[in-house]
């Protein structure tokens, strides 16, 4: 049995179903993200693990013990909130020490542990400040130290980095990942930011409509999305409806070069082919799977991003690494292909 | 429906306050409503016979009609005067810069916390026949004989305007405050003149405050007691002072209760009317 086990978790608020039969096993020391748009049930799931909300059905167990009936303050779960939820009337040291006070840790031990926790997040010099006197990034670290100092069984992170600016967010991602690995603490991250989820997690659970629609390591999830929703939420994707594509895509050429056999997929309920923009490549007309006209061209620094008008599909996105100036002006005709192994076939089960 | 523990706990926390209000607010109100249907016989006192006599008297007797007319007049006039003074003042405050704004906001609003009787006493002294205002006017040769300000509608309106001005300035000022200064800048950048900015941007944004301020001032002026009692004296009666007389001198409590209930209906009715007619519309953007 896994360390954290969510089994058939359901939560409804009167008639609205927020979480709809969610099951998830998380191993000890693992970092799992719940990723999804707002309203997908990820925060409700987190609140049920924390104990702020009672599940309507299902069970939550930690280390083999069911904790659904354990009150919040006895669960030993550390949480970092999106807005940090620091106690405004306490200093940094008292914020961090609060959980130890509640556990009646002797003063000397408490102070030592607070100091160590603050060192871990590089805030040892700010122990006497009040939260208001700290920057957003510093407040975030205090929140993290406060959650970690009680040595919780599980660390819950509720969009912890979303209030930081982009540069700081990247630094904190790396720092958070290193700290989590060093402490070996089982961590659940709730986020709507795919980059954050991919950067931090061992596995990502993409959620939609109160369920997990795909659970995979970041690379697998990105390369092999199982549903159009996952394909679209984890990065950008070109989705080609195979049934509607006769004539526009040269399937025989794909098959010859070892691509997925679409004839089988076509026979059933139809299927989509997912190709990431950075996997698309310009080529000569003789090798092309698709042809179109450049509609817009945007320079992003590291890459060029093209929107290509292709008959029957509308717009296809192509990202090309910036190796040289682009010669593909808007309006020019272009031809596209991709490595057959780079395309993922998504069964079209009506979604 | 059975209550879970999570629901019983908050209910329990409300019990003391709710019990107090049930016993000492709802119950007495109900008893006064009953009282209004009783009658009063000189030498006997209150007779618990249910009748509409008091209601009929209040509605059809010319004396009471005059009282309600006086009250309405005081309410409407005070609301208008307060608006005419409060709107410009709120706008002046809105345009002030930071230290002055806080200082004068407190100067205008602070009296709200200072005893009403004390302030009314001030007006009594100012407006009296030998009062400060008359002495000044006579000394200046404006008039030979003192002008009688006191114990009249104007005296009451002056006193009430003084008391209720904050209730007009605060909502208007709050409405104006809500507007980002970039909105005004945007209007200027689009070519509006100062006049146009005032009439097309400032005034409409202040409208929710103007309307709620006017309503509140009307309602408070129409039901005020201390100011009309002191500055209206025995000459100019309004509903609330008449209620006081019935209870404290005539001792016809049932009739007093009836008049009080009419006042309550007017007061609540005008607030409800306001909510229905106006607030809903404005709520869409304010």
């Amino acid at each position: 049995m896994a360390f954290l086990e969510l089994d058939g978790l359901v939560k409804h608020f009167s008639s609205f179903v927020a979480v709809d039969g969610l099951s998830l096993s998380v191993e000890r020391g693992e970092f799992v993200s719940l990723l999804g748009p707002s309203g997908c049930g990820k925060t409700t799931t987190l609140h049920m693990i924390a104990g702020f909300q009672e599940p309507s059905a299902g069970s939550i167990s930690v280390d083999g013990v069911d904790i659904v009936d354990v009150p919040v303050n006895k669960r030993d779960i550390g949480i970092v909130f999106q807005n940090y939820a620091l106690f405004p009337h306490m200093t940094v040291a008292d914020n961090v020490g609060f959980g130890l006070d509640m556990r009646r840790v002797p003063k000397a031990t408490r102070d030592a542990r607070v100091r160590r926790a603050l060192e871990q997040v590089h805030l040892e010099t700010l122990a006497g400040r009040y939260p208001k006197e700290l920057s957003g990034g510093q407040q975030q670290r205090v929140a993290l130290a406060r959650a970690l100092v009680i040595e919780p069984k599980i660390l819950l992170l509720d969009e912890p980095l979303s209030n930081l600016d982009a540069k700081l967010r990247e630094d904190m991602q790396i720092e958070l990942k290193l700290l989590q690995r060093e402490l070996g603490i089982t961590t659940i991250l709730v986020t709507h930011d795919q980059n954050e989820a991919m950067a931090l997690s061992d596995r990502i659970a993409v959620m939609h409509g109160g369920r997990i629609v795909q659970l995979d390591a970041p690379y697998q999830g990105y390369e092999r999305p199982e549903t159009p929703f996952v394909a679209g939420f984890l990065g950008k994707a070109n989705l080609f409806d195979i049934a509607a594509s006769s004539g526009a895509i040269d399937w025989s050429r794909i098959a010859q070069s070892g691509g997925p056999d679409v004839s089988a997929a076509l026979g059933e309920r139809g299927a989509l082919l997912c190709v990431r923009p950075e996997k698309m490549a310009f080529c000569g007309p003789e090798e092309a799977y698709l042809s179109g006209v450049v509609a817009t061209r945007i320079f992003l620094g590291a890459s060029w991003l093209y929107q290509i008008k292709v008959a029957q599909f509308g717009t296809v996105l192509v990202a090309e690494q910036n190796r040289s100036a682009s010669d593909k002006v808007e309006g020019s005709a272009v031809h596209l292909r991709w490595e057959p192994g780079h395309a993922a076939l998504i069964p079209g089960d009506g979604q | 429906m059975s209550l879970s523990r999570a629901q019983a706990w908050p209910l329990l926390m409300c019990v003391p306050a709710v019990a107090l209000f049930a016993v000492f607010f709802l119950l007495p109100l109900a008893l006064v409503m009953m009282l209004s249907a009783y009658s009063f016989k000189a030498g006997v006192g209150i007779v618990p016979d249910l009748s509409w006599a008091n209601y009929a008297a209040v509605i059809f007797d010319g004396y009471y009609q005059q009282l309600f007319f006086n009250t309405l007049f005081i309410g409407v006039t005070t609301a208008l005067v307060t608006l005419l003074l409060g709107m410009p003042e709120a706008y002046v405050l809105y345009r002030m810069r930071s230290p002055w704004r806080t200082i004068f906001l407190l100067v205008i609003l602070g009296p709200l916390l200072i005893s009403l009787v004390v302030r009314t006493l001030g007006w009594l002294i100012l407006l009296g026949n030998q009062g400060v205002l008359n002495s000044a006017l006579m000394a200046a040769g404006v008039t030979e004989d003192p002008i009688r300000f006191l114990y009249s509608a104007p005296a009451i309106v002056i006193g009430l305007t003084h008391v209720l001005l904050p209730f007009m300035v605060i909502p208007i000022w709050t409405s104006l405050q809500k507007q980002k200064s970039s909105v005004v800048h945007a209007a200027f950048s689009l070519g509006a003149s100062r006049r146009q900015v005032f009439f097309r941007i400032i005034l409409p944004t202040a409208l929710p405050g103007i309307l709620s301020g006017t309503m509140v001032v009307f309602s408070l002026a129409a039901s005020a007691f201390a100011t009309p009692a002191i500055l209206g004296g025995r000459r100019f009666k309004v509903v609330s002072t008449a209620v006081y007389d019935e209870f404290m001198s005539t001792l016809n409590w049932p009739l007093g209760a009836t008049i009080a209930l009419f006042l309550l209906i007017i007061s609540l009715g005008s607030l409800m009317l306001y909510n229905r007619l106006i607030e809903r519309r404005i709520q869409r953007w304010a």
Partner: protein, 267 residues
């Protein structure tokens, strides 16, 4: 970009004069040497202050007022706080009704509340007692206490007590160590506001007062009605000074602007 014109500043000056005039007048007359209401042109004197301090009825009513205001403010906060915590924090059946009930006295004219209390207190035989006076003041002031406390509680971030709970704090510990300290300014603001409202209350008190239990505003009202002399002004100066002191404290603790602008913005 928007500046005040000389005309608007002239208007402003006139209005400030209008606002200050009665207070200044009362304060000046209090120092008159004459035996009637007059500005102290002919010389300053403290005789009316001496006179008011020798007035037993004044001293008795001031004492009643202070007692009533302290009890009203303390009991009002004690009764309102749990209810407001429930309303502000939880969803439960009857929540809206409780909220509406506790705010209901606001639009009721004071004179109506006054006669209501007079009738009821006479019926239960409480009229003219300090207890009755306190109970009536509670009904008048609790709505404002509820409003201030509710604003303070709604402004509290819900995740802060949650964070405390997750760190092992019990319900009681959360209240004592998190909620109460964070509400401290709101609670003291509400207390002082209730004190001032009670101290200034006339319309209701006049019906519940008796010759022995009389609050300061009632004493002053009767003085004005039956035997006005400069001692009323001297008493007024004392009241103004006391109120200023309270306002100063209130401003330090809670912020006067926040309180005043909050107070009638939605009334």
């Amino acid at each position: 970009m928007l500046r005040n014109t000389p005309l608007s500043l002239a208007f402003h000056t006139a209005l400030v004069t209008f606002v200050m005039a009665p207070l200044i007048t009362v304060s000046l007359v209090a120092f008159t040497a004459e035996s009637y209401l007059a500005l102290p042109w002919s010389g300053l004197s403290l005789r009316w202050f001496r006179s008011v301090f020798a007035d037993r009825e004044f001293l008795a009513s001031a004492w009643v007022s202070i007692q009533v205001a302290v009890f009203t403010a303390t009991l009002g906060v004690a009764l309102a706080l749990p209810a407001v915590l429930a309303i502000g924090r939880y969803q439960f059946p009857g929540r809206d009704a409780v909220n509406a009930l506790l705010l209901a006295p606001i639009p009721v004219p004071g004179i109506v509340l006054g006669v209501t209390f007079l009738r009821f207190m006479t019926q239960i035989g409480w009229n003219g007692t300090v207890a009755a006076m306190i109970v009536c003041h509670l009904i008048v002031t609790i709505p404002f206490v509820v409003r201030i406390l509710l604003a303070a509680i709604v402004g509290l971030d819900k995740s802060i007590p949650q964070a405390a709970q997750s760190l092992g704090a019990s319900r009681l510990a959360v209240f004592r160590r998190i909620t109460l300290p964070m509400l401290a300014s709101g609670i003291s603001g509400a207390w002082i506001m209730a004190f001032l409202l009670s101290f200034d209350e006339l319309t209701v008190a006049i019906f519940v007062a008796s010759t022995s239990v009389k609050t300061l505003p009632v004493w002053l009202f009767e003085k004005i009605s039956w035997g006005l002399d400069p001692s009323a002004c001297a008493a007024s100066v004392l009241i103004i000074a006391g109120t200023f002191l309270a306002m100063l404290i209130l401003d330090r603790i809670y912020g006067l602007e926040r309180l005043l602008v909050g107070k009638s913005a939605e009334s």
